[in-house]
């Protein structure tokens, strides 16, 4: 009986791993890191994760589909540069629309190449990433693009002002997107189908789901959310630097896996990824608050990604090894044997 409880506790902690981790990191940092538990610090953390949280939404959907999108970092920068570069021509609404359409187009291209041409998704997105990086430099001439009109500053101020404590419009956009996609994935039939396609593509196909269409849709969602993340970020800073999306890939991959989305697909959730991003950012902020440099942060970010990938691979390895074995049966046979031996 007690054993039963223990295994249930383990299952519980595994299922809600990311939430427990979140609470733990929050508690430790609040207790030990100087100036961590303050409204201002919390607001700055939320502002810092707004971009990556938005980007993680689409990335998680792609991963639930069993694919990977390595082009998100380039899409972020691409959308940012497009927004700022086209503003003098089209005004902000037009430029933003073009940037989102650009992100969607890249996603569509990725999706078509993965679903229709059946090329491996790392390879496809590695290729589109390179093409995008080239076009970013081509478009911007290698410089960051800043807009210094009063309108740009007004938008920046608006996005950064606190509606209620902790929540600025920028954060609100991210929250709304997360809630919308989370509900869509959990509650709607189309949303559930993404899990089915990622879990077992053939089964999904036999169940009458157009698997290609879902894969393409996942990549389009990823392209759009990456673009939205980039756009919001450049609107706040009123300048698009070419290093905008540089670290996002590492950040978002680590967070998504820590959040419990399986690299093999069919498992996970958007909210979990975003909570994981929050947790990581708290950790990194803590590192900075402890007075350690940016290099330490980069080092830790890499280490965490490596650890997480290794952990996941090791778990799958152990699971595969025990596949088909029935430890409880072996135990019972052993017990009976000793019992009969004693008699």
């Amino acid at each position: 009986m007690r054993k039963m409880e223990k295994s249930r506790l383990l299952a519980f902690s595994d299922k809600y791993r990311i939430y427990l981790l979140f609470v733990a990191v929050f508690a430790v940092m609040s207790l030990f890191a100087p100036r961590f538990f303050a409204l201002q610090n919390m607001t700055s953390i939320l502002n810092a994760i707004a971009m990556n949280a938005t980007v993680a939404i689409g990335f998680t959907v792609v991963m639930i589909c069993g694919q990977l999108d390595l082009s998100i970092g380039a899409v972020i920068t691409f959308a940012g540069v497009l927004t700022m570069g086209l503003e003098p021509l089209l005004g902000f609404p037009g430029a933003i629309a073009v940037a989102i359409a650009g992100g969607a187009f890249v996603g569509l291209l990725n999706g078509l190449l993965v679903a229709k041409a059946k090329i491996n998704s790392f390879i496809v997105t590695l290729g589109t990433m390179t093409i995008l990086q080239g076009s970013i430099y081509q478009f911007s001439g290698g410089n960051s693009i800043g807009i210094t009109t009063p309108q740009a500053f007004a938008i920046s101020d608006f996005l950064g002002v606190s509606l209620i404590p902790l929540v600025t419009p920028r954060i609100l956009i991210a929250i709304l997107l997360v809630v919308a996609v989370e509900l869509f994935l959990r509650r709607s039939r189309a949303g559930r189908n993404f899990y089915l396609v990622g879990g077992n593509k053939n089964t999904a196909w036999f169940a009458g789901i157009n698997t290609d269409r879902y894969q393409i849709a996942a990549f389009v969602i990823s392209g759009v959310t990456a673009a939205v993340g980039g756009i919001c970020s450049v609107l706040v800073s009123t300048a698009a630097t070419l290093k905008l999306g540089e670290n996002s890939l590492m950040y978002v991959i680590s967070a998504t896996i820590i959040g419990g989305t399986a690299m093999s697909g069919g498992k996970g959730g958007v909210l979990r990824s975003v909570i994981a991003i929050f947790t990581l950012e708290m950790l990194y902020t803590g590192i900075i608050l402890f007075g350690l440099g940016n290099e330490v942060k980069i080092f830790f970010a890499g280490l965490i990604l490596a650890y997480v990938v290794l952990y996941e691979a090791y778990a799958t390895y152990k699971h595969d090894k025990s596949l088909g074995q029935r430890p409880e049966l072996m135990k019972e046979i052993k017990k009976r044997r000793t019992a009969s031996g004693g008699a």
Binding site: A117, I119, G127
Partner: protein, 338 residues
């Protein structure tokens, strides 16, 4: 002659045509460059100096590509930790130059091989996703570089005690036999010959082919799959280290960005050279041809006046097109997993 042997013959025939085809395309690009020169669009394409430039550029990419093609051949796509492996080994070498030339080279090689061992062990044993894992290792190595050298680039000490060693190190890239053939090119040729031999004439090559074609079948037929994968990643790290030393010798500075872009250039060369990303198909000679094509193409684009970044776009587009054609043609052969 029965159908089976005819099929075997036609496949080996098509392989020769494929490899020859790569060099045919390289030749076509040479002709294109010549035509552009005749029409006056570009200056001196066919000069000795320019040909040397092409060959030098090909040598570096080729060295990385030859090692990485073992990873691709084993069905593990690519080693994305190459850029910082190159950077990191450069730092190590420059740091150790004060103890002499040989210790510096050996130290760099040891560090490079350790990275390869780590990659190969984790991917072979635990079946970690090769792209993600090597990407993670890339970031960790980058973090180590940033942490240890605090964002600094380092230069070989020209005045200190290890002056002779520095001069030797400097000559890695600059040494030319008969004033023509650079040392990297010689290394590349040796690597290609040895690589082609290992891939086609040794038992390791056969094991690698089976592993790349069908991992499960390889495992059940008694091949130590984990070791084969380990060795292929170690080979990739080994050639990346050599290329890293050459690049560091060329730029005379240890910097974390020394190897930037070499991962993608090498994968593109491998894919253009006819090695499929599904594994188990292709040859080192083809990869050499792929590197040649990339080198000539880059050279023509530079001479025409296309910027580095637009070259990235062209390279990326070519990469996707080639992989797409490859996947489609493989599917028509009945292999759906490209």
């Amino acid at each position: 002659m029965n159908a089976d042997s005819r099929a075997v013959r036609s496949s080996s025939f098509s392989r020769i045509v494929n490899t020859a085809g790569v060099y045919g395309i390289a030749l076509l690009f040479l002709v294109l460059g010549l035509l552009l020169q005749l029409t006056g669009a570009i200056g001196n394409f066919l000069s000795v100096q320019n040909m040397l430039n092409i060959v030098d550029a090909v040598a570096l990419v080729g060295i990385v590509a030859v090692g990485m093609s073992f990873v691709t051949y084993s069905g593990h796509y690519a080693d994305m930790s190459v850029p910082t492996t190159m950077g990191f080994t450069g730092y190590i070498c420059i740091e150790l130059l004060r103890y002499g030339f040989l210790p510096a080279i050996l130290g760099a090689l040891v560090v490079g091989l350790l990275i390869g061992l780590l990659n190969g062990f984790v991917i072979g044993k635990f079946k970690a996703n090769p792209i993600i894992w090597t990407l993670a290792v890339n970031y960790v190595t980058l973090g180590i570089i940033r942490l240890v050298w605090v964002n600094k680039q380092i230069y070989p000490d020209l005045q200190g005690s290890g002056q002779a060693a520095v001069a030797l190190f400097d000559s890695i890239y600059r040494l030319r036999f008969f004033h023509l053939i650079g040392l990297p090119l010689v290394i590349l040729i040796i690597l290609v010959v040895v690589g082609q031999f290992v891939l086609t004439r040794t038992s390791f090559g056969v094991k690698l082919k089976v592993t790349g074609s069908a991992l499960r079948a390889a495992k059940f037929s008694g091949i130590d799959v984990e070791r084969v994968i380990l060795v292929s990643f170690v080979l990739a790290a080994f050639t990346a280290t050599i290329a890293g030393l050459a690049v560091t010798s060329l730029s005379r500075v240890g910097a974390w960005y020394n190897g930037a872009g070499y991962d993608f250039k090498a994968v593109t060369a491998i894919v253009i050279g006819g090695m499929t990303l599904a594994g188990g198909r292709g040859s080192i000679l083809g990869v050499l041809g792929g590197s040649l094509i990339i080198g000539i193409l880059n050279n023509i684009m530079t001479l025409v006046g296309i910027g580095t970044f637009s070259q990235d776009m062209v390279r990326g587009a070519i990469f996707i097109i080639v992989v797409g054609i490859n996947a489609v043609s493989l599917r028509s052969l009945g292999r759906d997993d490209a």
